[in-house]
Assembly symmetry: C2
Homo-oligomer: 112 residues x 2
Amino acid sequence: MSKPATRAYSRHTTAALVLLGNLIREARTTSRLTAGELAERAGISRDLLRRVERGDPGCSIGVVFEVATLLGVPLMEADPGHLALRLQHSMEKRALLPRAVHAARGKVKDDF
Amino acid sequence: MSKPATRAYSRHTTAALVLLGNLIREARTTSRLTAGELAERAGISRDLLRRVERGDPGCSIGVVFEVATLLGVPLMEADPGHLALRLQHSMEKRALLPRAVHAARGKVKDDF
DNA sequence: TATGAATGCATCATAAACAAGCCATTTTGA
DNA sequence: TCAAAATGGCTTGTTTATGATGCATTCATA
């Protein structure tokens, strides 16, 4: 009984997922690692790695990011090494932002 | 008995997750959307959105990416709009790559 | 400064991810 | 070519994420 995907994903989301999966697989083959080898290093099953490389939306984001990290596939950062810096800035910025948002009565940014 | 994260994540992975969560929350507050409103639009519970904004590694990557997409938070693409193009290139490239990797006997890219 | 609203955080039931194992098929390199 | 190895794709049982609910706390704004 294959689950009938109770959740819907936008085209953009699907594209991002599949792209990330492709990048991971490319990086793995470039590194000459078998699926079994990489799965073992990542501490996951070979089956799960297969889903990751496919861009399965149901995979845990932590697992996907960890595999990408193991292979050196860039995640959020535009230039490598800037992730930590961006995170720091983000944390500082957050301290300044309002902690709660009350329902907007006027116009809401709705153009998406 | 909540088992405390049987899985281990690297520092880099955690940073990327928290950063993405922060970006999502910043985008939400900037758009003046409450957690309940955004959760409803994303088709998820408010509780899950909270975990997403926290950078919980256990969240489905599809859910996280979908929320980010709803808010316009860039995912893989350096410049917006290039995701589809990158995906296309990736798919073409994949057709040329070897489909199986046999265990390397020589030296393996192991420097990570 | 009130006060209605938003958020944080528990708990519990349920749906879904995940691991393990197995076999068929494809691929690589000798 | 051919045999060993890698991959694809199931299935089953266990672990875990998720939704629903409720409540305490904090916040925004009138």
